[in-house]
């Protein structure tokens, strides 16, 4: 990790990092498609995890090691497991019957359209300098605690409030 060098040639040439990128992005997209088409909610959760680990791999390709590890820690260790807990706490046999709703064709059209628009925009845009730059871990920390100190504190406050709110909301239902 961190040693991936920029493999110079661009544009249509199949460099080794491009191959890695293609493999990882196929994993990401396949996992994502699995999440939205799977009929089993537990499978959907595990496929989400696969997709998000793929995203962590993409972060590695973008030389953002810290973000990749955060992704593994938060999504792999926390969010997936909490989601699984909640699925088990609710009625899981109900999920079989309520996968898709009647908006399905419309939703399909909208998302395809959005994808086409965004892709065209991305290709049409002129991305002048295309050199990946690595960021030192310590620089990230420095910037986080100096330039972004107040947003950082706000974010931790948001987490705290969300924690308390989640406890209060789930306790409320218990009393009723």
């Amino acid at each position: 990790m961190g040693s991936t060098q920029e493999s110079g040639t661009e544009g249509g040439v199949l460099t080794e990092s491009l191959v890695v990128f293609l493999i990882i992005s196929v994993v990401c997209v396949a996992g994502g498609l699995g999440v939205v088409f799977s009929r089993n909610v537990i499978h959907a959760t595990f496929l989400l995890l696969v997709s998000l680990m793929g995203v962590a791999g993409i972060f590695l390709l973008l030389l953002a090691e810290f973000l990749a590890l955060v992704q593994v820690l938060i999504y792999g260790g926390a969010i997936t497991i909490v989601v699984l807990f909640v699925i088990m706490l609710t009625k899981s046999d109900e999920f079989e019957s309520l996968v898709d709703n009647s908006q399905k064709p419309l939703a399909f059209l909208i998302s395809i359209g959005l994808f086409v628009v965004m892709t065209v925009a991305a290709i049409a845009a002129d991305n002048g300098n295309t050199v990946r730059a690595s960021l030192k871990f310590s620089d990230l920390g420095h910037s986080l605690f100096t330039d972004w100190a107040i947003p950082f504190e706000v974010a931790s406050l948001v987490l705290l409030v969300a924690l308390i709110g989640a406890i209060v909301i789930s306790k409320q239902g218990e009393e009723e």
Partner: protein, 372 residues
């Protein structure tokens, strides 16, 4: 990355796999022998000289055994989850140095990498439990998840204090920083938190509630047999060794020992392995000595004792670093906090009111009252 680098890395990984497998075999035998000694019996001694071939026999038997696929399991997840448990346990060994420069890839964020990937194996436990289509398996899986999420916090907090002291997340630098003083003297509280959390993360006695044999008959692994079960087993023992190795690196000075050169690979590896096996013996000693905690006791220990202690540890360390307190005072403060915690717990255990057991006999006249 050139081809030579790739070959080097691959050969290093293969070497690591081999060494770790041998270490796992040695650990199973060591555990049975050591616990045998604690229980005043001999332990395995029939297979090979002094029973040395016992783990080999176990391994051959497990591989040669039938692999059962129960009817109601979710096939894909059932077969994949041993790998999901197993791969992270191997991946964390990529960055654990055994001696100076004896490591596959020394990462600058080594400690963070280890924490991030050790969490990932919980998912394998849950998915194994769910895919087994067995109530004990799923209860065990969720116990594992609850336990591991709770005890991850004390581990992270104790490691955070170490990173603050050493000023790095790189394991080699952390060991270098301990040249004159192992951090166990500066951070006895941190060492206690780390070992406690590590034991809970491994699911070893006293915290083995997820494979608890008398309650959930082996937890997430109930339905697995043969080779797939042995993959879980392998992962568990590699994790045990990893926790012991991390304790050695973070608190006991790694491959450094007064009087021995730290730069010589052979002596470094020897010192490291000796220390690690001693920590492993301590872990086995706990298993031979302590009873299992109940799940509510486990949760209250984690959230009411270890997490607050972890925060206290971080704050004390930060204040000591900011005010540049002498290190001996930091160690003393940490020790006093640890000792007073033990004292408070022991006093509360002694003075706690004895639970009154009421035996409820079946009374048919209460049938209507109790029925809901």
């Amino acid at each position: 990355m050139s081809l030579l680098d790739l070959l080097k890395t691959i050969s290093a990984i293969m070497g690591m796999l081999t060494v770790l497998s041998v270490i796992v075999l040695s650990l199973t035998l060591l555990e049975r022998k050591f616990i045998g000694r604690i229980q005043m019996r001999k332990g395995p001694n029939r297979v090979g000289p002094f029973g040395l071939l016992q783990p080999v026999a176990d391994a051959i038997k497990l591989v040669a055994k039938e692999d059962i696929l129960p009817t109601w399991v979710d096939k894909v997840i059932y077969w994949v989850s041993p790998l999901v448990v197993f791969i992270p346990t191997f991946m964390i060994w990529v960055t654990i140095p055994v001696a100076r420069d004896v490591v596959i890839r020394n990462l600058d964020m080594g400690l963070f990498y280890i924490i991030a990937f050790s969490v990932l194996s919980i998912v394998g436990l849950i998915s194994a439990g769910w895919a087994s289509a067995n109530k004990y398996a799923i209860i065990g899986g969720f116990r594992a998840a609850a336990q591991l999420i709770s005890y991850e916090i004390p581990i992270i907090l104790s490691v955070l204090a170490i990173a603050m002291l050493a000023g790095s997340l790189n394991l080699e630098r952390i060991v270098d920083a301990q040249a004159t003083k192992p951090y166990i003297f500066l951070q006895p509280l941190g060492a206690f938190l780390f070992l406690c959390g590590g034991l809970a993360e491994l699911g070893r006695t006293p915290f083995d509630i997820h494979p608890a044999e008398s309650e959930v008959v082996g937890g997430p692994f109930v339905e697995y047999s043969g080779a797939h079960w042995s993959v879980f087993f392998l992962a568990e023992y590699i994790n045990t060794f990893a926790i012991a190795a991390l304790t050695t690196l973070l608190f006991l000075g790694g491959w450094l020992f007064p009087g021995l050169p730290g730069n010589v690979t052979a002596s470094g590896v020897l010192v490291f392995l000796t220390k690690t096996y001693l920590v492993v013996l301590v872990i086995f000693w706990f298993r031979g000595t302590y009873p299992r905690l109940r799940i509510d006791q486990l949760m209250s220990l984690g959230w009411k004792v270890l997490v607050p202690l972890g925060f206290i540890n971080v704050v004390v360390t930060a204040v000591a670093l900011k005010t540049e307190l002498p290190e001996i005072i930091l160690g003393l403060i940490s020790f006093v906090i640890l000792a007073s915690t033990f004292w408070i717990i022991s006093v509360r255990m002694r003075t706690a009111p004895k639970p009154e057991y009421t035996v409820r006999l079946y009374d048919p006249s209460l049938e209507g009252l109790n029925a809901r």
